[in-house]
Amino acid sequence: MKTKLKLFAKARDLVGAAELELDLPESATVADLRIALGEHSPALQPLLASLLVAVGTDYASPTTRIGGRQDLAVFPPVSGG
């Protein structure tokens, strides 16, 4: 299923895009997204393990199903303040 996600900060720079569309099964979890992202953008590889995933405005847990969602965001650890 078409799955849309926003990228921020270094993740966006490494992918070279602010948004991305991946094809994921509906049952796909955060772990599956990580694998798919690494295959789509090998430049993300070194950042992959530390990437955070949000669904809507909440952090996704590792088991959250995210396949087909249009409101995902993927980003490295935050550093505001």
Partner: protein, 146 residues
């Protein structure tokens, strides 16, 4: 007042908005762009953010603070975009009946903000290089050895 802005933060307006006759104490925290970090010289910072989620998380943090301390009013403003040395990146203001409550609540809000609010800063070092700050991820983007 929960707000993200690309403009200069008016911390006086924020502070006035949280003052109250019910409060004996106001604590204001300002984060400002510091020149030296671990011996390296910064000339500017660029802040990126995920606005909808950042605002939602800031509202959650305010609710958390209210559940822990007798907060009368609280406000948080975070700036995004390009900031020069000395500029204010974030302002947290809280009013409580007594001072230790206000200090504790203010410290909690800025500590938690730095943990969960989706905002990121990029260093512009004096040697011309730039670098995203992502705690726990080293400069090459690999996970640090533990």
């Amino acid at each position: 007042m929960i707000q993200l802005t690309h403009d200069t933060i008016d911390y006086t307006a924020l502070t006035e908005s949280i003052r109250s006759n019910q409060a004996g104490a106001v604590v204001l925290f300002l984060g400002t762009v510091r020149e030296m970090t671990a011996g390296r010289q910064t000339v500017a910072l660029d802040y990126d953010g995920f606005p909808e989620m950042a605002e939602a998380k800031l509202r959650e943090l305010e609710a958390e603070a209210r559940s822990r301390w007798p907060v009368i009013e609280a406000g948080i403003v975070h700036r995004l975009g390009h900031l020069e040395l000395g500029d204010i990146s974030v302002a947290v203001a809280v009013s409580c009946p007594h001072r230790h409550q206000a200090f504790d609540a203010g410290r909690y809000l800025i500590d938690r903000l730095k943990e969960v609010v989706p905002i990121w800063k990029k260093e512009n070092w004096s040697d011309g290089s730039t670098e995203w700050v992502h705690p726990g991820v080293d400069n090459n983007g690999t996970q640090p050895q533990i």
